[in-house]
Subunit: 718 residues, 2 copies
């Protein structure tokens, strides 16, 4: 592993906009995140973000209706733990003059930043080394090194905790809303410590923040030009509703904790794109931030923006299962399991939601949520995206296939499969379609949010079919547990029969799967007369305007094609061409899938072009809103592009497949991942596909279409 | 005309609930309405309602999007002008003990009410005679007759003006919201007068209310058992943004004004159902309240609840054109003209709205509005109901056909036809449907609000086809004016061609018109397992739940069948049977149409059953929410049931048709109406159809299928 690819600096990022940098260099550990704000300049967007902490406020509707989501759940932005105040005895304060450097070390998890600060007369150079603990997950080490450039005299260093200033609420649905109902109490148990307790008024959650400075919260130090003083702070962030442990870790211990964690992480997760330092850095950055975003406790999940920003209010979406879980399933199955455990924990709310939607059996997961209740205030692109049930079922099945974790299925997975299958069975309906009795789903919205409230969305139907089929198979495989869960024999039979008859729209004329019953009837969006600045369309056109045209925000039918990978090559090629022409990629979830499928179609140019955009999405600020937080699903998507696309890693027909689709321009690619208890490393070159068994028992794989027993470093000719 | 049918008393109404009675006995004159509250008990729902007065407040969306309606427009409930305070020198106050009587005289417009009031010791009988002026429209006469039952001593009478107490906002979309931003100033220019000026803070409208009591606002009178004192008050309500005239009318003048107006009204509008006093009273009541609800100044329209309640916030909907205008067009064309003039006055806002929806030409009228801007906060059952454009065009054409008002077409009607036609032309799209190049409309909602966001709603397409066709014909007929309005020859040609190719969904299997492209694919709503208390469905089921089934809130395809009346009898019969089985009539707009069509199908039983419900909807509180205001569209619907249904009055093939569909149970029916400057009276019996020319030149009509010259009282054998 070359060191440069593991260091991200200012010259690798899109711009120096303060809020953008706060996101890009944010540090997190699945429990909390620190946005990387300027510590000398309080910012309304810098602060601390806690995974799973939310405040509720009633949703105001212009016109309400039965069964609408009742409450927003909003993750608040908490005080910025990194703020520091440097003042002189004459009362002047040092403020940032220049940001000299920011460097994130992806091997150690340490962020090193340097600012030149000035009080108008003299200058200091301040370096801050920040690390968040990864194993115990409640600490951060903040080490400030203050060097006088030309200042002589007494310097007062002061640490305090202040809530970020409130911003105005935005109309952009991708941003967050402000939380006004936090109550805060602050204590100073001793001169070295400040402790803040924060409580959400309506959801009744609490969190404790604490700062401990080794030389005192207020420290006076005499400086001369060239002199250096090191000021060490340990920050602590309690678990939600949990009292802070009395003893805090040391700065060194936190650094060691993180270093060890990331070492282990890269050992099982590393991806190396050889001879391409820029892309190699980007993919490492993505995996680092993706891993840092995931809740690891079974009670939390992965917010759409991770813990790097409060965009989308800190909510969990289907993004987890479809875009992020594959990475964890293949590299850190323990985390994948916890993420699915979270879904299991909200099954009661999901069952209730199904009832509210008039479905008497099974569970319907909330489209966006933290606490399990639906928080989407716009059902056409929220609750109507029933496919989330199929996405979760698919993720359960994938987890089981890749890990072979039988115990998980018994305790968690099977019930998720059953309750989602029950939902589809009860939600859908039989009717005569094309002369056959078929099973369909009406008034649904697929992944593509530029097409809403349609009948028989191909993706939805395909996932429902899969869900019913797999649930039926799994209740046979786990017959005892199925009985415990109340599944009757005829119930599984019914799922089998229904699955066989789920209707899948297909256009005879175009010889491709059709996005929904009426997709091809509508005119194509007038792309040629749409000005570039009118993208994303959702910010410039009324939903009814967008919906009445053929235009996709993201992969929809193609997403199903990627998941099931069972289309004849020629049809996939037609389908890809058709849908690509009507897709805006206004969603960050789009390009990765187009990259994967292009790789499968051996269209190297498209595959790498889409991958470039995917891999560097936030580093070049492709979507223009990275300041609100990272596009974490896309971080996972970039791994999909590499692993499933170029690396051809996919479980199919009860076997793991590895297919070499290495782009022409890349000399070699190495991917590490786990499969049923083994750790494997695959090195792809244009000559060969080498599968190394790093750890574990020998295993049989399909490599480039040939069955192969992997016993140690195996070599397969290409 | 028998007198009993013209008197509505307490024993003719559903119950004695205070808010219900406030609605039923409300008096209005197109400009303002007085809810008939208990004058001794301030009520949060009693007060004064001004047509066209509204306050704006920003619409709060849980999740907003481009082009959403930005502001609520809410008609506030203003002070109750009828309140009076009766106190004794010992400080006791007389409060209602018993409501003795309420009688509304439909011939004079006078409401007479009697209460027995008590101060806990003694009793008075108080009678209030209320009349609102109909010609100058800004005054009301309130005459209180106070008789002592057993009270001896000095009685203090006091009149003041107090704003109604605020109620909590409701989640029922049919109710109103509260207005909190009125500023009020009150003056007492002299001891007899109280003047209140009310201003809406955001919409910047003003209205002045004034009370003048002949004996002083505070009057002391010595009472003995049996003694009577008459206290006369003239109330005045200014026009919006207009200063009150200095001199007010006298009580007598107001009574005379109303009496003369209603005399003239019944002369041109009377409907008599013979030998059926109850129904006869109901229809008279309906026409009285309908006439009292209509704005007559070209700047206002007919709120969904008239001026009898603030339900639906005082908004104007398509109800006007489709349900209420027919009555005015046939009986009071001057009012019909003013109502269409209102639409013309908001054309600029409608053009702007079309642009916001991505349609470059023409106008799209707001689904619900007062000031012309869209105020619907739920576009799937608001803005998506594009058919309002066709409804307005249809109403223009009907007005022109029935009145022959050439001048109106030049100044107003033609432009409405053109701008709506332009909208359809630009909004729709060509595609191959059933092997033909046809013109369709995607993602629309028809009249039936239990089915939303569908493709090619039959009703919408049918109206669009009509609109394009008639616009093309009328620009030929009014060629000069069309040129002034910028219509090019090829534009009209295009409308012709498009109209010819508008796609109309038809089910070959069922041999009936299909509500939309996917209507019959969906399962039928599980009516058999739906408890009675779960109606109206909209209050008990999520929209997605309702939408995914075949279930109609109201006539949809059948409404088109009624408008165009061109289906073969057998098909109409099939269509009626099919849609009737899936219609809940949860909308008050439904039953009248089912009655009309049943009459046309000679199904007398259904026609009269639906008519009974229609005619007495508010008098029996069929919908359960008359307390929020009258269902004014249904008032118009009851006239449609009679005139178009039983009376067969309809303009078709360039001629007015009269067809006798008199129900078996009725011995005779007489309908008065105007046609091209004539006043006609048609008496239907089971033996004959007699058309009398009351006023005007001879005219040719089709009576029971035969062309007939009406010169004087004509008799046509049945």
């Amino acid at each position: 592993m070359t060191v440069p690819a593991m260091l991200l600096s200012l010259n690798h990022v899109a711009n120096r906009d303060a809020a953008y940098l706060e996101t890009i260099f944010a540090l997190s550990n699945g429990h909390f995140g620190l946005r990387a704000g300027d510590p000398f300049t309080p910012s309304a967007t810098a602060g601390t973000i806690i995974n799973g902490l939310y405040e509720t406020t009633p949703i105001q509707y212009g016109e309400s209706a039965f069964g609408y989501a009742t409450h927003h759940q909003t993750t608040p932005l908490l005080p910025d733990l990194r703020q520091i105040e440097l003042t002189t005895t004459t009362g002047t304060t040092f403020k940032t003059q220049t940001l000299v450097d920011k460097t994130l070390d992806l091997e150690t998890g340490q962020l090193s930043e340097t600012w030149r600060v000035s009080d108008g007369h003299h200058q200091l150079l301040v370096t801050l080394a920040s690390v968040v603990s990864q194993q115990e997950q409640t600490s951060a080490s903040l080490v400030y090194t203050i060097q006088s450039v030309d200042f002589t005299g007494e310097l007062t260093i002061n640490k305090s905790l202040t809530a970020p200033a409130q911003q105005a609420d935005s109309d952009d649905p991708r941003q967050s809303r402000q939380v006004q109902t936090l109550t805060t109490t602050t204590e100073h148990p001793d001169g070295n410590t400040i402790a803040m307790s924060i409580r959400t008024e309506h959801s009744d959650q609490s969190i404790d923040l604490q700062l401990q400075a080794d030389t005192g919260l207020t420290t006076h130090v005499t400086m001369n030009p060239g002199a250096t003083f090191t000021y060490q702070v340990v920050a602590q962030v309690s678990q939600i509703n949990t009292v802070m442990p009395a003893v805090s870790a040391t700065n060194i211990a936190i650094e060691e904790d993180a270093k060890a964690y990331w070492h282990e992480f890269w050992n099982s997760s590393d991806v190396t794109i050889e001879a391409n330092p820029e892309l190699n850095r980007a993919i490492h950055y993505n995996l680092f931030q993706l891993a840092a975003s995931a809740g690891r406790d079974g009670r939390t999940n992965i917010p759409a923006k991770g813990l790097s920003g409060t965009g989308y209010e800190g909510h969990y979406f289907w993004d987890t299962e479809m875009y992020m879980l594959p990475f964890f399933t293949y590299t850190n199955p323990a985390i994948a399991k916890q993420l699915l455990q979270y879904r299991h924990s909200i099954l009661p709310q999901a069952k209730q939601r199904a009832r509210t939607l008039g479905v008497d059996h099974g569970a319907l997961f909330a489209w966006r949520t933290i606490n399990g209740e639906e928080a989407s205030a716009y059902y056409p692109a929220g609750t109507a995206q029933y496919h989330i049930d199929g996405d979760i079922a698919y993720a359960v099945d994938r987890y089981y296939n890749i890990t072979g974790d039988h115990e998980f299925m018994v305790t968690t997975g099977l019930e998720l499969m059953i309750e989602t299958a029950r939902f589809w069975q009860d939600f859908g309906n039989w009717s005569q379609i094309n002369g056959k009795r078929q099973f369909g789903f009406y008034d649904v919205t697929g992944p593509d949010e530029y097409t809403a409230i349609v009948n028989n969305n191909y993706y939805t139907n395909r996932l429902a079919k899969f869900n019913l089929q797999r649930a039926a198979e799994l209740v046979t495989e786990f017959a005892d547990q199925a009985t415990v869960l109340g599944v009757k024999a005829d119930e599984a039979d019914q799922w089998h029969q229904t699955a066989d008859s789920v209707y899948l729209p297909y256009s005879e004329e175009r010889q491709i799967n059709e996005q929904d019953d009426s997709a091809f009837q509508k005119p194509v969006w007038p792309f040629e007369t749409t000005p570039k600045q009118n993208y994303p369309l959702l910010l410039h056109y009324h939903p009814l305007n967008i919906y009445r045209y053929q235009v996709n925000k993201q992969a929809d039918t193609l997403l199903a094609d990627y998941l099931f990978m069972d289309l004849p090559h020629a049809q996939l090629k037609r389908e890809y061409a058709y849908y690509e022409a009507i897709t805006t990629h206004d969603s960050s979830l789009s390009r990765s899938i187009f990259s994967v499928l292009a790789a499968q179609l051996n269209d190297t140019k498209k595959a790498t072009d889409y991958f470039m955009d995917t891999a560097q999405m936030d580093l070049v600020d492709l979507q223009g809103n990275a300041s609100d937080g990272l596009h974490v699903a896309n971080l996972g998507g970039s791994w999909l592009s590499i692993a499933t696309g170029f690396g051809g890693i996919q479980f199919k027909d009860q076997c793991l497949h590895i297919d070499n689709h290495l782009p022409t321009a890349w000399p070699a690619l190495t991917i590490r991942f786990c499969y049923r208890g083994r750790l494997l490393a695959v090195r792809y070159t244009h000559e060969s596909t080498d599968v190394a068994l790093i750890k574990g028992e020998p295993v049989e794989l399909m490599v480039n279409g040939k069955r192969q027993q992997i016993t140690t470093a195996e070599r397969s000719s290409h």
